[in-house]
Amino acid sequence: MPAETTLPGDSLLSVRDLRVQFPTDDGIVRSVDGLSFDVAPGEIVGVVGESGSGKSVTGQAILGLLRRTRARVTGEIRFDGRDLVAAPEAELRRLRGAELAMVFQDPLSALHPYYTVGSQVSEAYRVHNRVSKRAARERATQMLDRVGIPEPHRRYDAYPHEFSGGMRQRVMIAMALVCTPRLLIADEPTTALDVTVQAQILELLKDLRDEFGSAVLLVTHDLGVVAETCDSVVVMYAGQCVEQAGVEDLFARPQAPYTWGLLGSMPRVDQDRRDRLAPIGGQPPSLLAMPPGCAFEPRCGYHEEVPDGRCRTERPALVHSGDGHSVRCHLTTGQRLTLRPVTS
């Protein structure tokens, strides 16, 4: 399915039919199940989904961090022309930290408790650059300063536990960006933080993208964060991309019933919603036993609009519907226009 989304020539990262399977005692867990999307250079792409949607696993698969687990990764992850799934470990290691970097959800556990933050940042620099310790220290201090750590020269020698949650996440970001990678994968970078600190960190990510030109894959469960930060969005459900679009397009003209459901579930801080929220009924499907048809069909309120019960028997393909908007749904374009609930 190559011609589904944006042209591969434009993209820095191009994921095609990615599958991640974890063998367990109860069977094979299909965490990611045929995922395809693209990231253009310098673009902030939001990967949004609920727990178990496969969004975090996707980030780790791109970096090759699942190679040390029992997971089976297949499909294609093309970064700058190279296929990361097939690449030898040594090549991937040269890319990790240098071209592809990652920021994790909980900065306290993601930083080594026994090393100073400065040494951890400069270590990240020295792996990929043959420089003296002093030059690395200089560079790390500069980076700490850039991400907003006050008194970076002094704080270089402080340990992670001596920082607040927000400051720790700044350190993580400094560490990830110290080699100016072309793609930063941020896995729920603000979920563990308070909302006022979240706003600071998201602002920082946007600024750094502008300054360093790094593309960002922002993995999150929060559509609000996506709307504030991203250029385009991948909506994931049960290991698949159900919709990908530019951010304004997605929020103005959402096309997948799951996206409608997510938007309908959200109370808004900036406006009064009608009396009741419109949640999605039921629970996400078990990743051990996926329905043969559309993964969302059991919770979807629109499957009767599609003739012949196709939703139950036939898995819809991710189809390009113009303007870089793709959707995985059996509803016709016309049906989606008339059926879409008015959310705001």
Binding site: L223, E228, P267
Partner: protein, 320 residues
């Protein structure tokens, strides 16, 4: 409306650290009061103090005509029928070795209530009411999903038709779609049974959706308390303003148009009592808009919550 719960000058110290520092508010019969704030602001401690899961260091808690802040557990027991709590983490608050049926029958047993039609029927009715399948009577908590477990927690709190339910972050551990189901359930149950809620949460949007009035906490104090529409439309305390503007809105069209107040730094951890306004170290108004005389006042004088009927605010220089 009568005051069902009336809290006055409530304080709680944990070994020299003042977690709650002089909090006063009321919850009227039939209303929902939202209590919001960031981590470490004392909102969860307040929830535990008013339900007397913690003993206050000082201050009074008047519930339904009883001053319960010094009541013994024995004297509290009959009142617990009317005063219930729902916790954030449903799995930690449900005994893993008890079935749903046992968990939901416990309130009846403890209070010695014989529901008409028998306990079993009452439990089945309760399960149906919160959207659980009564046939799952014999299932254990781990056999339910996160959302279902929270329904179980809510059912347990509602078993004896309480007057006030304190909800401590009841939906923050849940995924968006499930969170909305539980929010709707809480709203429906309130309408049906005429419940009052003290709704404690960090999510400003959920609080807006459920509350009649909202109190904003910062470092152990209420800094602003107003009815919902006033507070969200025209916040007066600089912290409330910053908090509201920091919440991401799922509408990229508003990205540029919204006025944003970025605070510097993290919310501070509670500590010893300080001099002056405790928000001034992060206050954008203090930093940018005030002259030296005004700043001096912030630095020396602790602002008290005003007694304005339209909305109380603890700031020397609030927005109009």
């Amino acid at each position: 409306m009568t005051d069902l719960l009336s809290v006055s000058d409530l304080r709680k110290d944990f070994g020299g650290v003042r977690a709650v520092d002089g909090v006063s508010f009321t919850v009227r019969a039939g209303e929902t009061l939202g209590l919001v704030g960031e981590s470490g602001c004392g909102k969860s401690t307040t929830a535990r103090l008013v339900t007397r899961l913690l003993e206050p260091t000082s201050g009074t808690v008047r519930f339904d005509g009883h001053e319960i802040s010094r009541y013994s557990e024995r004297r509290l027991r009959p009142l617990r029928r009317d005063l219930q709590i729902v916790f954030q983490d449903p799995i930690a608050s449900l005994n893993p070795r008890h079935t749903a049926g046992t968990i939901l029958a416990a309130p009846f047993k403890i209070q010695g209530v014989r529901p008409p039609g028998g306990q079993r029927a009452a439990v089945a009715d309760l399960m149906a009411r919160v959207g659980l399948n009564p046939e799952h009577y014999n299932r254990y908590p781990h056999e339910f999903s996160g959302g279902q477990r929270q329904r179980l927690g809510i059912a347990r709190a509602l078993a004896l038709r309480p007057k006030l339910v304190v909800c401590d972050e009841p939906v923050s551990a849940l995924d968006a779609s499930v969170q909305a189901q539980v929010v709707n359930l809480l709203a429906d149950l309130r309408d049906e049974y005429g419940l009052s809620y003290l709704f404690v949460a960090h999510d400003m949007a959920v609080v807006r959706h459920l509350s009649d009035r909202v109190a904003v906490m910062y470092l152990g104090r209420i800094v602003e308390l107003a009815d919902r529409d006033t507070l969200y439309a025209a916040p007066r305390h600089p912290y409330t303003k910053a908090l509201l503007s920091a919440v991401p809105v799922p509408d990229p069209a508003l990205r540029e148009r919204r006025e944003r107040v970025l605070l510097r730094g993290d919310p501070p951890a509670p500590g010893q009592a300080a001099v002056g306004c405790r928000f001034r170290s992060r206050c954008p108004r203090y930093r940018d808009d005030l002259d030296d005389t005004q700043r001096d006042r912030c630095a020396t004088e602790d602002p008290q919550l005003s007694d304005d009927p339209s909305g109380a605010v603890a700031c020397h220089f609030p927005s109009p």
